[in-house]
Symmetry: C3
């Protein structure tokens, strides 16, 4: 199968979404000049071109795209060609109103925005296949073409009648019989027993709480339907260009796609990444998404979209301060990206995203944004030969599973404040601040190559996942689990005792009496630190080797943390410093070392291949101890024992 | 007519909702063993069994219920059998979409939750009657059957076309002519005059404010339609078992039912009660609902549902701390309950309420919840012979009327912060903390047996109610009214002068110039205390005997409180201590005595029959002076002059 | 053309909306007595009388209105007769459901409130024309009739199918070709190209962001459709009574009407004004609306609606303290009103606005409200001969344009906190507190008569407007622009460079690199003051004469304020005192003088004709220096050099 290296060929891809249909052709020539000036070598074209390519049903206009592809090719800029199926032309909705999605209240999502297509609509799929086929046939042999990009940020739901029919078919596949479905959904509760497949609906508006298993399956179904749409288009382009890789862009940790399953269907894993420049933990959010994306990709990956500055939709929408765009871009490379791209090349003057920043902003080539883009292009070109294709080794894996997330976000749950991403981010932050490089993994993956595995919160665990965790520990691995792990089985059925019995036994828990969720701003005393968000009334069975007790309040003296052999259970969310200390200690016990010792606060260190990346996330200059002699690939300087980093400074050190 | 004593027969009923259809039959046997272990003597069965009992239209399956009833009977556990009509099976909605309710925006409430039935749907009523008939016919003679429970927490609205037709019929009954309706609704305002009955709709979405009288009548209509549904099923079961009492469970102070009218249609009044364990005034909320329920029942009543711990839907959903479940259960008995029951017996593993606690929680019999349930069962058995069927005497009545509440919650009112329950709870709290036992009453009830009557807020008062209050005072009663009392007549028409003229004369008010609502966090100075929530620019007529003036601000020197003979008017909401002092003083003047003198803070004292209940709502031990010798029925101890109560401790003292 | 002076004839109109259909005829006689008592000389009748006038389609009942008009005429009270078309009778919606508007989610707005008419409905327009024709024909010759009032507070949207058809027709008129529309709307973005007029819809619910140009045009269309409705009725009444002026009442700064265009279609400009009595800047809000209304009217105007106290819909809905109603009414006269009217004469006892205060409140003639109304009537009668018809001179104009506002409030904008009215109000406040009398103007108006023009924020500026501003400065005018001015062209297309190039050159801006919006509570340091709400990363071109730099943070040293000749640019919102000082300094430089020197804080001074109005907005007495001798028209007192003003006191001084 083709992969990203077939496109990079020793380079780092640099560029962004390019939407030439918004501009007169004379602007294209300025664009190409500026691209060369900035070191751009790859652009994504056609993401939203359907109405231009097919202005009326079946009537195609490729001339402008032919000219553009030729122009880019002449300039040596590769093209990632997109199927334009994320935003059908108005004529499709008018011709086939059933292609428009319905929300759970039955409200239609009309054209006039984007993504107004039902994943379940046969008419939509038919028209999407036709335009994909036409594009692939026409450009399969074009020398500019380097990769395919299918659709854009798949993320829609549909509760309409055609979706209902497909949902039923999907459920038949899953359960075989109505009896099995009734059992899995627990329809005995509230008299929901189905006597006929035709009675089953998407989870539409109800008077009171919905059946959580139905909602969970609807999320699984939605992910699968979107994936079907993706795969159908991928198969078409693959037929025409079996040598070219295919991707679609994920939204970071987006709720609606089973990211593990999707990644398997892609040749290149790519992601869109928009941390808030004002967020003091923005860099950590980036690191988390980058670690996850790299793990999905099992190697180098593509940063498909980021912003040079403002995004338009953010509540307080500030630009990136001077230097931050470069810093965060190089962070992505440090954590495995072989492509650094933006939405978009040239900032739109019209439309809903005209205030989203771009490589060439409204201020034009003189603007700070473009000046920084140029500098970054030069940086990337300088380090690319040493970086492209190299890998990152990690001793720690963080477990994440979309099904567990879906199940955990049902209505009427005592853990409404403990949303999985909140807990996931807190745990990843502790590891990141402890300079422990982490991969992500699915709870059923082979974990044997990791010294330590952490499960911040996996509310739902299949039997196979529990087996996997137990055998990982039996095999010598160190496992650290947070609260709300192993509560439910595959069907969101609470396990007897309120938590999986084998896990309870693993950690030394006799009875899980009660959950004590904590309100915002309230903490719980523990021996040596304070817990937040959650606490538990646990009864230990006396087999644990280490116990950190709660102190004060209703839980006084009960275990907050239990360590039994290599298995650890953490029943609260320790404050950041405490969680970092706890995980660093357990990691040290498992033989896991930080990337470097004595790293100043705010500095990130990552080893990629043979290189050491140092990134200063602060505005004040810092000095990092790097024993021995190194060459900084960005500056060519020699660095001995101590590396100085200025505001938002980066070093890429080769030994 | 049969009543609760026909079921209790000297016992206190103890148990809860039992939903065996969620469990394999082998679990039923464990259930029965545990029930006996815990002293459970009554369970409610079948509340959500419709789809199990009638899996397809007209196809009935009673076998499992036959076996269950037999099993419970053998174990000596009585059965409150429910009609399952609160949650129709999916097939009903599919067969008759018109049975599904519409909200005011026209959105359908689909099956997949519960209560997806339109009270106005003929098809729903027909199918509900049929399953009720079948159940009643089959189990009328079963020895386990002790009581009927109709539907569950009636609480739905419907704005659809069939509801519109019934609304018109209801209005014809009420008004006779369109002219009378136009007059009552004040349709001259905003050109809403109706020229044809067919023009009348439920209050659906409008561009701007709705007609408040239309909304008020729609609420009356909704209460009446739900009551029709109840009565239809009740009449069916009564035909089969005239010797057995019938109930349905109220939600505490739920907005949508005229509780006084409904209670008259029940043989047993029962209520669901879920105060927040974290609420410092949770015990007072319990006392209020218990006083109201007892007053509706005119004697012993049934606590149909409470939780041993978490409820699932609460924002911060903590369990009850050790001892609180027992304390609050015994409080209900102290205030007149002869039945202490829970939702539900065994915690569900699936479905929308699987995180709602139960008598047997996810932790199983070893869990703290069940251990406490066992202890409480023993306590109840011990005191039951002395308690069951006894009554509570009160010298004070608090007035409450759902129609006044409905009318007071219209849009565009200056009193949006002064919602009736807020004011009601503040006044009840003052009386509760002053240890004055209170009944509740309707403003048209005979009040002559009370020494003091308080009306915290009755925005709407009928002419008959005003007559009643005036004659109560003339007859020697002491009346204390809060602000916003007597503003509107039966049709929500503001009375001339902005407040009923006879009431103004009663209190010595010449002109009510202006209302001065207070924003959150703002208070108004009064002589000796601060007022909250509300204040008024009043001009006294000089006939009052006592006046407490406002101090400072725009109202400086104007009357805040007026006392004229036995009639008092309080134009603000005094801070808690001040309101308690004011009402205690007036009560003392009216010859009303507290239950006991010198009660420590946080302790509640109630006399039921010949017994004195002492309840410590704090976690610190306290001592209560109880002159003379007593026997504590819970422990058998002798208590002389001073009773010690531990954390959440309870004493039930017989003299 | 007739105008307001044809009605006032040397008087100030005093009165309010009068809705006699809510009262029995005997009350009318009391009304008339009280009107005479209070000096009322004008009432508005019939605003919501359609259902009374036409109880069934085509069936008319004018008898009651005949009697009322005669009665008012006998009493010497003039009648402003309203067309009742703001609230159609229920029969219209039943007969023609398509007259009911749909919101963007497709939800119907039913009758039962008011304004449930679609501006686009042919059936509505036909029925509205018919009742207007009938009214006009009947009362054209009635001696009580003085003016026509069309509809009420036009403010509705419709997204239904008939509106869609009219929208298409409106767009065809505007753009001629689909290609021009596609260009103007930038439909190349997100594949929205229209291939057929029939594909175009109102901006209904979408999955993600809407096309902002489509939304902008829909707002323009809505304003125009409502104006068509107005003009159609106006033309009918004008045909019958060419000698009588016609008006409709604006809501102050309401979003949905292009106020400049509407004002041109009115003989009398009138406004409804409801500042919150609790708002410390309520008086300034009044001044702003009054200045705008006067500018729309180009002379005396009509305060059609205000409240004596509470309004019903306000969150904290307090009455006006003693004296405030008089103060704010006289403020309106000071700023050019020749009519002071209220909603409404007599407070309703029923309906959705029964808690809206009135001239005769629920408390009746003894109530404080009516007593103050009487006093004000006497005041107005006293000053009217000196005031009526006189004008106000202003040296400063504030620019405002609804199209700029509409364009600036699109979704996904970085300036979501900088809503035009917020910025407009801050700038007007600075001028008002500096005692600089201001007119309002449209950016394309002839500005040559003003010494200084300020543009607080005009996001959208047409080419003609830019021309106009440049030629104003070239002609010697002083121009001060705030941030976000000149960003977009007529079609909401961002201008090259992110801000109009000619404006950048005017102010000395080389590059507008980035916008730095500020979150709530955050400020930016500037030399000598702090900026709020907004800041900008600007690069000056070195041509400015004056520069105030930012201090600290990312913008340290960059220009915050630029002054180049007579053109000023202010890139942040200085704190109130700083903005006041800045504008006062620039004004002084332009030769603009305040109304008076050394005015104490909280006092407003306005010159109207030859009179000097002094208004004390505080509760504490103050002294104002007024050199020379004057006569106070309110009291007849002689005032020499110093005028004393009590709580909420007013002086009207003639020299």
């Amino acid at each position: 199968m083709p992969d990203l290296s077939d496109v990079t060929r020793g380079r780092i891809l640099y560029g962004g979404d390019y939407n030439p249909e918004q501009w007169p052709e004379e602007t294209w020539h300025e664009d190409v000049r500026l691209m060369k000036d900035a070191g751009v070598n790859s652009v994504t074209v056609g993401v939203f071109s359907w109405a231009r390519l097919e202005p009326r049903p079946g009537e195609r206009d490729f001339g402008w795209l032919d000219r553009l592809m030729d122009l880019l090719h002449e300039a040596g800029v590769g093209v990632v060609l997109a199927t334009p199926t994320a935003s059908p032309p108005p004529w499709l909705g008018r011709l086939h109103p059933e292609t428009l999605p319905r929300d759970e209240d039955g409200r239609t999502e009309w054209w006039g925005g984007r993504q107004h297509f039902s994943h379940s609509s046969a008419a939509y799929r038919r028209h999407a296949a036709a335009i994909t086929e036409a594009l692939a046939a026409r450009y399969a042999g074009h020398p500019a073409l380097t990769m395919w990009h299918i659709n854009n940020e798949y993320c829609t739901y549909d509760h309409g009648d055609e979706a209902a029919a497909r949902f039923r078919a999907w459920l038949r596949d899953r359960y075989g019989t109505l009896e099995a479905l009734n059992t899995a959904w627990g329809t005995a509760f509230w008299s929901q027993g189905y006597g006929d497949w035709a009675e089953i609906l998407p989870p539409r508006r109800t008077h009171y709480l919905k059946n959580p298993a139905q909602v969970l399956d609807f999320r699984r179904f939605t992910s699968d339907m979107l994936l079907e749409c993706y795969a159908a288009e991928r198969d078409i382009v693959r037929r025409h260009t079996p040598h070219l890789p295919v991707t679609t862009n994920f939204m970071p940790l987006w709720f609606g796609q089973d990211g593990w399953r999707w990644a398997e269907e892609e040749d290149v894993v790519s992601v869109d990444l928009y941390p808030d420049p004002r967020d003091p933990l923005g860099a950590q959010e980036g690191a988390l998404v980058q670690d996850l994306t790299r793990s999905q990709a099992r190697g180098p990956w593509m940063l498909m979209e980021q912003a040079t500055g403002a995004v338009g939709w953010r509540d307080v929408d500030q630009p990136k301060p001077r230097g931050l765009n470069r810093l965060w871009s190089l962070q992505a490379v440090a954590r495995g990206a072989d492509a650094v791209c933006y939405f978009q090349w040239r900032q739109s003057r019209q439309g809903a995203e005209k205030f989203h920043s771009a490589m060439v902003g409204h201020a034009g080539p003189r603007g700070r944004a473009f000046q920084e883009v140029k500098r970054l292009g030069a940086d990337l070109a300088r380090i690319a030969p040493h970086v492209s294709g190299t890998r990152i080794a990690a001793d720690v894996a963080v477990l994440h599973d979309w099904h567990a997330w879906w199940a955990a976000t049902q209505e009427a749950r005592p853990f409404s404040r403990a949303d999985p991403p909140v807990v996931l981010r807190a745990w990843h932050r502790a590891l990141w601040e402890a300079h422990l490089t982490t991969d992500f993994a699915h709870p059923e993956h082979d974990l044997s190559r990791y010294r330590m595995v952490v499960a911040p919160q996996l509310y739902l665990l299949t039997d196979a996942a529990v087996d996997n965790l137990l055998s990982y520990v039996r095999g010598g691995g160190t496992l650290v689990c947070g609260f709300l792990t192993g509560i439910a089985d595959r069907d969101d059925r609470v396990r007897p005792g309120g938590m999986d019995a084998r896990l309870r036994e693993l950690f030394g828990i006799r009875v899980l009496h009660e959950w004590w969720p904590l309100p915002a701003g309230e903490t719980v005393g523990c021996d040596g630190f304070r817990g937040t968000l959650w606490s538990e009334e646990l009864e230990a069975d006396g087999t644990a080797d280490e116990t950190v007790p709660y102190r004060g309040g209703e839980l006084d003296g009960l275990p907050a943390v239990l360590g039994k052999g290599r298995a650890w259970y953490v029943s609260t969310l320790p404050e950041p410093e405490a969680l970092r200390g706890l995980l660093a200690d357990i990691a040290a016990g498992a033989g896991v070392r930080p990337v470097l010792d004595r790293i100043p606060a705010g500095v990130e260190a990552v080893r990629r291949g043979d290189l050491l990346f140092l990134l200063n996330h602060g505005r004040a200059p810092v000095t990092v101890e790097v024993p021995g002699g190194h060459r900084d690939l960005l500056t060519g300087e020699t660095v001995t024992d101590r590396a100085e980093l200025g505001r938002y400074g980066v070093r890429v050190l080769a030994s």
